[in-house]
Subunit: 312 residues, 2 copies
């Protein structure tokens, strides 16, 4: 198994020693710090084999980790894959999974530099992805830097991934190419780096759990509150003709992997970076609590934590 992965994963760039030793050896640039993030993708919790093709599961597993590096303004270096498989799983599934994962790795010029393999004890595919990145010393963008009166921005459009998921739950079969936000989310690595290089964000997070939850993380770590304008939030469109998704997906749907950041009110923020639209959706308030203004009414916005697949 490890030999098959190794045959497909070539070490490039910063990876001095990868698969085949006790630990990988990584070069970190002078005057840089290392970034490390780990993310589970567990069958039945984060994906279903009957819904998601193996290439999509590989892509999404790695995208979760890359998106965390993007949210720090970092550059990804290497990925590590811990993979437990049911004995009955066809080799073609594993090949497809690795294909999807390695294709995304290639897009961002990172190596699969190690990991672990095991039999899965209870029959489901278990994936844990580690992504290591780097960032110039003390330039990582944390969640804790938001200040009162900062503006709040998001990249791209929100709700597309969760809306697709709800179609799965309603019994629809979906083709991956019609729902790219759900099946092949693109981590905003380039946008995060440009924002960091221009020292625009005071705080940043990726939208993996949903706007209401991830904004609450920023506010909690920064000791502030927020107010957002419902009509300002860029809403994903699905179907033909393209129709905006329900607001619940925009506010609470997870796995869009867009970036949410804050910037001081005097800071000029581009409308696009690397072709991705950037939209102002509200502002940070000195007092705790997150509020949503919609059609002139102001309501409290509770974090509706993204519960992945355990809704049913």
């Amino acid at each position: 198994m490890l030999a098959r992965i190794r045959a497909r994963a070539r070490s490039v760039g910063a990876v001095i020693a990868g698969i085949g030793d006790d630990a990988a050896v990584l070069r970190i640039l002078p005057a840089h710090q290392a970034l490390v993030t780990t993310d589970f993708s567990l069958e039945g919790i984060h994906f279903r084999r009957e819904w998601h093709p193996p290439e999509v599961i590989g892509h999404r597993a790695l995208a979760r980790g890359l998106s965390d590096i993007a949210a720090m303004g970092g550059e990804p270096i290497a990925a590590f894959l811990s993979l437990a498989l049911p004995p009955s799983l066809p080799q073609a599934w594993v090949d497809g999974f690795l294909k999807g994962l390695l294709k995304l790795a290639k897009t961002f010029k990172i190596s699969l530099a190690g990991g672990d393999t095991s039999e899965s004890p209870a029959g489901g595919v278990l994936i844990d992805i580690v992504v290591v990145g780097s960032v110039p010393r003390s330039k990582a963008i944390l969640r804790s830097g938001a200040r009162a009166h900062d503006r709040i921005y998001v990249t791209g459009t929100l709700g597309g991934s969760a809306a697709a998921l709800s179609l799965f739950f309603s019994g629809r079969k979906l083709r991956a190419r019609d729902f790219p936000q759900h099946f092949r989310p693109m981590p905003r690595i380039r946008v995060g780096q440009v924002l960091r290089q221009r020292a625009i964000p005071s705080a940043m997070i990726d939208l993996s759990d949903g706007l209401s939850t991830d904004l609450a993380h920023i506010c909690s770590e920064s000791g502030v509150g927020a107010e957002i304008e419902a009509e300002a939030i860029p809403t994903a469109k699905l179907g033909k003709p393209p129709t905006p998704v329900d607001r619940k997906f925009v506010l609470d749907g997870g796995e869009d992997y867009e970036l949410l950041f804050t910037a001081s009110p005097g800071r000029r923020v581009p409308r696009h970076i690397a072709g991705i639209p950037i939209t102002s959706i509200g502002s940070i308030r000195p007092n705790r609590g997150i509020f949503l203004t919609t059609e002139g009414k102001r309501v409290k916005l509770a974090p509706q934590g993204w519960q992945h697949f355990d809704r049913d």
Copy 2:
């Protein structure tokens, strides 16, 4: 859950930002490289809750990763814990698990700097541990450096962990304090560092899968063979009076977490480092194949890969 872990895990030393952000930020010393290793500990594969107390499972999960850093001659910096739990698991179990893990982390002065938590999809506890370390630039000790005529050495005694496990399989109940090699293996961090500082090893690996398998890894990566002397291998003793464990555990038993290394024949190797005995057990041969000499007979030694708990 993450909040409970965070409350217990304090960032020290090289961890600039830990739990609570999208990724941890780690300081890597100038002129050093980063080491990264990931290890699953899955219920039913690597441990059983009915056999192993939660503190022991936490200790062993982290020990696996630390031992990989030891085998590179590295210094551990931080650990990351991905933890999926059955909903019915008592909080006391989680507290015990974290206690065991964090006690070992404290021993080696490393932080628990992040990770991921999830519900376990099929009822078993799923653990993936990442350990990040560092090593002076190009000084990491790889598996690939063994050369013909190098001597082969091991630290400590072998077979104690697998022999204890076999008692579990035979229906015995074991007290953790009577079987420290199985319940609380101590990663040989200090020994690995001293060996690296003195530039003694040409190649090194930790004994996680068993001597026959891990020596085969060294030989395969180095393109060489080996010959070991059965009577020279330091054998663990168990019970009262202490009795040497069966040779099968010494040769094929995993999870001793001792170090196996090679050194050129002219190199002086101490008999002890940091109180741990170091024993010469054989030598590297130019041709492939691993042989065991016992009572004057020479037999081929096949790698009997450590299969963890899937023997029954």
